[in-house]
Every structure is written in C-alpha cells, then in structure tokens.
C-alpha cells in the first residue's frame, strides 16, 4: 500500500510538472507580454505625457494583427481616455494583481488576463491579452492530465490490492508451514501453486532448505545415536575390566594389566572423537587456507612404502600404478590421510593371497586415485550410506574400526571440490578419489 501511495504521489507530481511545463508556460508567456507592454507604455508616458500615451495605445491597437490586445486608459474619474473597452471593469481594483476578465468580442464571449497600472496624476491604465485560445488549450491539457492521474490512481489501487492479496496468500502459506514446523511437524512443506512463478520458486527454495535442514538433523541424530551406541561398548568394557580388577586382581601385575587394557579401550574412544573432530574441521572448510600446488605421486609412493609392509605381513600384495608426476591443488596432509584410509580399508578387507592395486591417473577433469581391493565389496544398497559417520556394513562387523574412514575421505573430496566414487571391482571394491585439475581449483 505504501508503494501504491508513493506511485500515485509520483504520478501526481509528474502531472503537476507537465501542467506547469505546458499550460503554465502559456500563462507565463502572456504575463511576460503584458509586463513588456506595460514597460513600453510607461516609457511613452514618461517621454510625452498623456497625448503620447493615447497615440501609442491607438497605434498598438491598430497594429494588433493577433487581435488579442486589450487596453484601457482612464482619467482620475475612471472615464475612458483611450483603449478598446467600453468602461473600466469594476472587478479590477488593485494594481500589480492579475485578473481574469470575461470579454465579448464580435458576439463571442472570451476570457482576458489583465493587470492594472496606476499612472501619475490619477490616471489608470489597464493592459491585457485575450487568452481564450490559450485557456482552451490549458483546459484541454488540464483535463487530460487529471484523467491520466485518475487512471493512474485507479490502476495503482487495483494493482496494490491484487499484489497485496497475492502476497497475503503466499505469506499465509509460508506462515502456516513455519507454524507447523515450530509445533514439531517437520514433514510440512510450503504448497506450490503450480504456476511456476517467483512465489513458486521461493516456495521451492524454502522447501529445499527445509529438506536440507531435515537431512542435517537426521545426520546429527544418527551421529548422536551412533556415538551413544558405538562408544557404550568400549566404555562398558573398560569399566568392567577395572571393576573386575578391583575385585579380583590378586597382585599388582594383574591390576596393572587390567588398567592397561582399559586404557587401550579409552584410547580407542579418544581416537574416534579425534576422527569426528577432524571430519567436522574438514567440513567447516577451515583447511582451505593450507591449499597449495603439490605433486601427489610422491605421496602415493610414501603410502605404498608404508602399507607395503603391513600388506606383506597379511599376505596381500600392494601394487602401485602411478605416473611420475601428478599435479594437484589442495591440502597435502588431507589428501595423504584420505588415500591412506582407502588403502588401509583395502588391505584390511582383502583376504590373504589377494592383491590391492593403488592406481592414479590424470583425466580431463583432473586427477583420479583409485584403490581396488579383492574383499567382499559393498552391496549396492549400502553404497550411498557407506560414507556416513559410524556406518559399518555387514562384512565389516568383524573387522576393527569405527566407521569413520570413508566419511573422512568423503569430507576431504568435497573440501577439494572433488568426489568419492564407490564401484564394484568384481570381486571387491574400487574406491576412486577424484580431484579437479589444479587450474580449475585455483581459479575458484
């Protein structure tokens, strides 16, 4: 409504300006002509007195081709001395004031703009111009502008009512959804009109936002449940060990051994929390400041050297296929940590006698680091959840770990603008960490 009033006021101001610039200009021109006329006649009076003034008035009337001049020179008794009016108009009493005077010219009533000038010795002069044509034009312009103003006001009112109604409906829809969500019904969504307009786009954005919030809340709930579930076992185990040792330990060595085992359990819990914090830190994006150009090939060589020994102990072969140089842009430590997690998982799940392949290559979109194992793989149904925190598939129930490895790799990939793909290797799993090309990353 405020905007509609502003629109109407703006339209009124514009109409006023147009009137001033057109009809007003005509009036000002007439007034200027009369003033100029008065100045000339005043000079004639000063030069030659009354006879000169009478002669000038007669001359000007005789040469008035436009047929619009009006003069009346009156003596102190207001009797006519010269001019083209019958008598002094009774309504014209003050000098230097404008009067609109009805006149009759050849049987046609017209309108004249006149002004009175008082001369020395009690004489009075009236000068005017016939403004009938200008008055008609002014009336025409005034009417047109007023009608335009009326139409603008009417349209602004109608438009304001329509827009207000539209906003009211849309906001009521959003408000109802917000109220329902505040009351605990998180399944509520803003209804779409189906018109595909800006309001529908807004509703879709709000719904997307609510979906995202819902997923985040589910994630938080899931992580909370997982923490409560996965940490309860080692904590209970440590407590039981300590309690058992306190009650049944026969000597100091047995007591110390029980404390050491409990300490190991608690260290495991601490490592889970450290992993959680690290993933949160990565997801927060605070590590981006450490991004730099790097060569991934030496990193892979170090990892292969480190895990080659572990794999060998388990009877697994670790094969590396990598070019000499693999340019990338990112955080060296995080990329190393991510590849280490993938290799650690692969070695862990590959049975003795099997092979783990660490394969890296440059692709048009950047760089891909693939780790292929010969383990049980991940069922399709679990692949989408495999990167969630604390998620452990059926095949991983009997292996050590807390379900943080792939979650961390996923976080690292997203931080670098890349992705983690989990594919079947028939047999086994192929985990691919894809990172964008250095140029693309630096420019973003």
């Amino acid at each position: 409504m405020v905007y509609a009033v502003l629109l109407a006021l703006s339209a009124a101001a514009l109409a006023l300006f147009l009137w001033w610039a057109t009809a007003g200009l005509l009036d000002r021109q007439t007034e200027a002509a009369i003033r100029s006329d008065a100045q000339g006649l005043s000079e004639r009076w000063a030069d030659g007195g009354l006879p000169a003034l009478v002669l000038t008035i007669d001359d000007r009337l005789a040469g008035n081709v436009d047929d619009d001049a009006i003069y009346f020179l009156a003596d102190p008794g207001m009797r006519r001395v010269a001019g083209n009016l019958e008598r002094w108009p009774s309504s014209v009493r003050q000098s230097n004031a404008w009067y609109e005077l009805p006149v009759r010219r050849a049987g046609i009533t017209s309108l004249a703009l006149v002004q009175r000038y008082d001369l020395p010795n009690g004489f009075h002069l009236l000068i005017g111009r016939d403004v009938r044509v200008r008055a008609q034009l002014r009336t025409l312009l005034t009417d047109a502008l007023l009608w335009a103003l009326v139409i603008v006001v009417a349209m602004a009112t109608a438009g304001a009512l329509v827009v207000r109604s539209l906003f009211k409906r849309t906001l009521a829809n959003v408000s109802a959804t917000a109220t329902a969500i505040a009351a605990g019904d998180f399944a509520q969504r803003v209804k779409l009109s189906g018109r595909g307009d800006e309001f529908d786009q807004l509703a879709e954005t709000i719904n997307d936002m609510l979906d995202r919030i819902g997923r985040l809340m589910d994630g938080v709930r899931q992580v909370s449940n997982a923490i409560a579930h996965d940490l309860r076992t080692p904590i209970t185990r440590a407590r039981t060990r300590l309690e058992d040792a306190a009650l049944h330990a026969r000597d100091a060595d047995a007591l110390r051994a029980a404390i050491e085992r409990a300490t190991a359990d608690l260290d495991g819990i601490v490592s889970v929390f450290q992993a959680l914090l690290r993933i949160s830190e990565i997801e927060a994006g605070s590590r981006r400041s450490a991004f730099a150009r790097l060569d991934v090939a030496p990193l892979l060589a170090d990892i292969a050297e480190l895990y080659g020994v572990v794999a060998e102990e388990k009877g697994v072969t670790l094969a590396v296929e990598s070019p000499d140089h693999l340019p990338a842009y990112g955080d060296r430590d995080l990329i190393q940590q991510a590849v280490t997690n993938l290799v650690d998982n692969a070695v862990k799940f590959t049975p003795s006698g099997g092979t783990v392949r660490l394969r890296a290559q440059t692709v048009p979109s950047g760089l891909e680091i693939g780790v292929i194992d010969q383990g049980p793989g991940i069922p399709d149904a679990d692949k989408s959840r495999a990167t969630e925190r604390f998620f452990r598939g059926e095949a991983a129930r009997n292996t050590p770990g807390a379900g943080m490895g792939l979650a961390l790799v996923q976080a690292v990939a997203q931080l670098h603008g890349g992705a983690l793909r989990l594919e079947d290797a028939h047999p086994g799993l192929m985990a691919v960490l894809a990172l964008p090309a250095p140029e693309e990353r630096q420019s973003t």
Binding site: M1, A4, V5, A8, A12, A15, W19, L61, A62, G63, N64, V65, D67, I70, G83, N84, L85, E86, R87, P89, S90, S91, E100, L101, P102, V103, R104, R105, A106, T109, S110, A135, T139, T142, L146, L149, V150, V153, A154, A156, T157, A160, L161, R164
Partner: protein
Amino acid sequence: MSRVARIYGLTGLLLCLSAWMALAPVSGQPAPQQITTDTPQYCLVLLDRVSELVRGLAAPPPQEITNLSTDGQRMCEQGQTRGGIMRLREALVMLRTQARQR
C-alpha cells in the same frame, strides 16, 4: 475491501477532486465587457489610417498592401468585421514598415 484499501481509495479520490477544484475555472464571473475594436466603426477608423499612410507615400504602395486594404474594406462592408479588421491591420503594419524603411 479492507480498511487500508478504503483509506487509500478515499485519499486518491480526494486528491483528484482537490486538483480538479484547484484548476477548474471559477464560476460567478462579472458580465463580459464588450471589445470596441472589432466593430464596423473600427473598420472605418483603420481604413482612414491606411488611407492616410498611403497618401503620405511618395510612390504607390505595393500590390500586396493594396490587396489587403481592398479585401479588408470589402469584408467589413459584407459584415465579416473581424476578418476585415485583420486584413486592414496587416496592411497598416506593412505600410508602417515601409514608411520606416524610407
């Protein structure tokens, strides 16, 4: 219609009415004054002035001035007073201009 809409509509109407009243011609004007320079008598006055100026010329006036003067006189005689006066005025102005140039 809501209260705000009614207030807004009323404001717009008042705005238009006030503008109309401010710009509309004022009624109750005095009786019109008769202009005395569009009468047949004034035709004669102008004809005298034209004749006087023509007499003062050393040479006959240009044909255009003669035509205007003749047309003006004829129209005045036929009752077309304003048209006749206009032509006589034009002839007078041209004669004055010619007289000044000499």
